[in-house]
Each structure stands twice: as C-alpha cells, then as structure tokens.
C-alpha cells in the first residue's frame, strides 16, 4: 500500500472550517489511500473530531473540498462506517446488542429489516466476537464490549472505510489490547481512520500519523519522537523517556 499508485479513498483539499469566528481547521489538505491505517492525533480543541466530521459529511467545510471515493461524503456515505465513543450513550436505553447492530442496516424506507440485514448483523457480531452476547442488554455490557458493539454496528453496513473516535478512551489496558487486535485484523479488509490521544496504542499498527492542531501535518509513523509530541500537544509537554535511565547514566 505504500506505493504512489495507491487509490485515494479520501481526499481533503484546502478545507477550512470555522465555528462562528474561530477557525478550527485552516487550509487542510490530505489524502488517504486504500488500506491505510491512519491515526489522527492532536491536542483537545485542535480539530481532530471536526476533521472526522468533515470526512463523514456531518459538517461542511467553509471552503475547500472533501471527497470520499471521488464524490461528496453525503453521496458516498455507504462506504463510511462511523464508530463513536461508547460513553456518550444513554445508560437506561432499552435496547439489545443485536438491535444496536441492526441499526447499522437502517434504510430510509419504512418497514422492517430484511433477511439480508439480519445476516449482515449476525456476521458483524461474529467478526467483533460478540455472538455470545447478542441478546444481552446494551447497557449491561462493559465499556470495551460496548465499544466493540459500536464497531459491529458500523461493520453491519459493510463499509470499506472505518472511522473511529477515541476507541480506547475509558477502557483498561486488557480491553485496549483486544481492540488493538481487532483493528489490526479489520485493517486487512478496511481502510481505518482513528482519532486518538493515545499515541502508544496505535504506534505499531498505524502506517500514517496525522497531527491536527488547526493545521494538519503528516508525520512518519515510525518516528514518534519528541518533535511529534510537541507538534501535537504544544511545547508545554514534557516527554518521559522510558528508554533512558538517568541514574544509571550519571553513575
């Protein structure tokens, strides 16, 4: 996937986005190739989520263009599978895991889900390793399981690009590594975009890193060093160098 002839599944050209008079994203250009595993990092308020929403077509750029498979995101939304953070869901909503995943098949027309819809939902649950909890109540699951339900819901729509917003926030290390494995597996068949503040989570599976702080810079994924961290979080950040032990080096 690293050759120049790769297909651009997402293209952002000189996109600008403002909330009233605050410019969140200024002249952003990037292109994402089929099969990429991209992580989008940056400080809070830097525009990570805004960039994701522009690509999803939930927001429109003030100027510039966003294209998904050469067309507008709204037109080609069928290619996109969105996975929001599980923590923003109502704790009391009466819905089962299976019903949540079925909403990934929802259509405009009135009526009921087809056989094909049920099959797609069952496959998605299988892929996410949730077949055994499909009849459980969504709110009764752990955070990590709920996050996987939302991944399954996105998969049910059979997208070719998955876009995840902070999938590892509020989950513990064991769950994180499970999600890590799942994403690595899914990357074999899907292009993946991942908004995260958890650089360590993705550094070994992402092939590209975009740093969003009003502007967007691409960083080589294999050099997650001080320059990247300071670009992402500003100069106030101090890096903890686990690879150097000061006491030993002073002796």
């Amino acid at each position: 996937m690293e050759n120049g002839a790769a297909i651009n599944v997402i293209e952002v050209e000189h996109a600008v986005f403002r909330y009233s008079n605050y410019t969140v994203l200024d002249d952003v250009s990037l292109s994402i190739h089929a099969g990429d595993m991209v992580s989008i990092i940056g400080p809070n308020g830097g525009g990570k989520t805004t960039l994701l929403k522009l690509i999803l077509g939930l927001l429109e750029p003030v100027s510039g263009k966003v294209k998904v498979y050469g067309g507008s995101p709204r037109k080609n939304m069928g290619y996109l599978g969105y996975v929001p953070q599980y923590s923003r869901f109502d704790e009391q909503f009466p819905i089962t895991v299976y019903e949540v995943v079925l909403t990934g098949r929802l259509e405009k027309r009135a009526g009921f889900y087809s056989k094909n819809d049920h099959q797609a939902a069952a496959e998605a649950l299988e892929t996410a390793g949730l077949s055994n909890v499909s009849d459980r109540s969504f709110q009764a699951l752990s955070g990590g399981q709920r996050q996987r339900v939302l991944i399954a819901r996105a998969l049910a729509g059979r997208p070719s690009i998955l876009l995840l917003d902070e999938p590892t926030s509020n989950v513990d290390a064991a769950v994180g590594s499970m999600l890590h494995e799942l994403l690595e597996e899914l990357n074999k068949t899907h292009t993946i975009l991942l908004v995260t503040h958890d650089v360590g989570f993705v550094d070994d599976i992402t092939n590209r890193v975009f740093c969003v702080n009003n502007h967007v810079h691409e960083h080589p994924a294999d050099k997650l060093d001080a320059s990247l961290i300071s670009a992402a979080y500003g100069n106030q950040m101090r890096m903890v160098r686990h690879d150097i032990n000061l006491e030993k080096s002073q002796q």
Partner: protein, 280 residues
C-alpha cells in the same frame, strides 16, 4: 361497589361512562407507543408544552362555536390544530435554529394557556376551564369518540411503520443521519405524533395531567423491559389499567377521574421502583 360501576357501564342512560372507558382503552395503545419514545428520547417537557398549548385551540374552538355559531366545531378539533402548531414550532426551532430550546418550550407552554383562557373568558355562557385543565369525562361524546379512534389509528400505524427509524433516532441521532435518514424530518414527525397522542387524553385526564399519563406508564414499563417494543406493550397495558381503575374508582367514590387515575399510576410507579431496587 364494583358492581355499581359495571351496572353504570351497561346502563344506556349514562353513555358517558362507557365512552370515557372506551376512550381510555383506545388511547392507551398510542400512549404506550408514543409515551415510550417520549421517555427514552427524554422529551417529556415538549409533551408538556404541547398539551398546555392545546388549551389555545380548545378556547378558540369554543369561542368560534358560540360567537359565530360554528356548531360543527368541537374543542377537540381546536386542540388538534393548536397541538400540531405548537409541535411544528418546537420541532423547527430545535432542529433548524440556534435558539435556546427550553426558552421556546416554556414560552409556548405559557402563551398557549394564556390564549386559551382569554378565548374562554370571552365565550358567552359559562365555560369551566377546570374541565379542560383537569379532565371531565362528560366531555367525551360520540363525536369525540370517533375523532379519538381516528387519531389513535394514525398514531399506531405511523408509530409501527417507522418504529426502526424512531428507535435509531432516539438511540443515536448522528449515526442515524449517517445512514442517510432525514433525521430532522423524522424528529418533527415524532413530535407531531406526540401532539396527536397528547390530544387523545386531554378530555380524560385533562391538560395538566396528560404529561403524567404519557410518562408514568412508560417509565414503569421501562423498569421491566430490555427492548423498546416490550416497553411499549407493557406501557399500553399499564395505561389501560390506570385509566380503567381511575374511572371505576372515581365513579364509585365520587372522586375526580383524572386525579384518581394519576395518583394510582404514581403509586404503582413508586412501588415498582422499590420492588425493582430491592430485588436488584
């Protein structure tokens, strides 16, 4: 005691008790469906505003009927128009304009009541606003019963037909939009159905208590449901139970029926909460 009530139901000389019971049972189905959406989507305050705004229509209908001799007008007709209008305003404001939603809702709530009371004050003869505010089973005649049946059918059919869209919209609006569903349109349709449902029960429990009958059965049902449709079925059954019990008790003990219904519903809800908590 209960025999008295059943005797009254069968008595051809007092049809209003029969009508009230039928009205309560009929509208319980749509109350179960729409009440559940209202509870899970957390828009009970919108239902409250719509029901109070309905008084504007009730007052206007009474005024035009008596002042201009429009005999075909029933207060329910006015209630339907005013409720739908209030729903449209709230729906448009909350989806398209960047106004403070709660301010708009509060204004519609109060302005609707004020307009209604002005019309009623200027209507010749004595009209008791209390009947509309707190319910009066004498208000349900044969004509009203037909209208209630029609509204009920509209709400049930649309509620079932768009069940999955409304469910998805209530659970995750953003994701639903990404499935290509026009969520704003569906939200306004849902609020319209809330408006029709609110009108159904105004004559039985009154404007002030509609919101309780919309939310209490659904909230009680929610304690025992894992799926939304289960919640709806249970809520409809609870609602039918509450209105029938309220009507029966009020007849036997000569209590106001609306208040009896709501107090009973509230008691069942609190007991259910305690049972649920203590059983884990």
């Amino acid at each position: 005691m209960l025999q008295e009530f059943f005797a009254a139901l069968a008595d051809p000389n007092v049809p209003f008790i029969r009508y009230a019971l039928i009205a309560g049972l009929l509208s319980s189905v749509s109350f179960g469906i729409i009440g559940s959406f209202v509870v899970v989507k957390r828009i009970s305050y919108i239902a409250g505003a719509i029901s109070h705004a309905a008084l504007a229509g009730i007052g206007a209908a009474l005024y035009f009927k008596h002042v201009y001799g429009m005999e075909f007008l029933s207060p329910l007709h006015g209630a339907v128009v005013a409720a739908l209008l209030a729903a449209l305003i709230i729906g448009l404001v909350s989806t398209y304009y960047n106004e403070r939603e709660d301010t708009i809702i509060g204004s519609i709530w109060a302005i609707g009541m004020a307009i209604g009371l002005l019309f009623i004050a200027k209507t010749p003869g004595y009209v008791d606003p209390m009947s509309y505010l707190f319910g009066n089973i004498l208000l349900v005649g044969r004509q009203e019963l037909v209208l209630i049946l029609v509204l009920d059918m509209v709400v049930i059919v649309l509620g079932i037909l768009f069940y999955h869209q409304f469910l998805a919209l209530s659970f995750d609006e953003e994701f639903t939009r990404l499935r290509g569903i026009p969520t704003r349109l569906y939200y306004i349709l849902l609020i319209f159905l809330v408006a029709l449902t609110v009108v159904l029960m105004v004559t039985v429990v009154g404007i002030v208590m509609v919101i309780a009958l919309l939310t209490i059965p659904a909230a009680t049902a929610g304690l025992f449901s894992r799926k939304l449709w289960q919640m709806m079925v249970l809520a409809a059954l609870f609602c039918a139970l509450f209105t029938s019990f309220g009507l029966g008790t009020s007849y036997v003990l000569d209590f106001p029926s609306g208040s009896t219904t709501i107090v009973f519903a509230g008691a069942v809800y609190i007991i259910s909460l305690i049972v649920k908590r203590t059983r884990g």
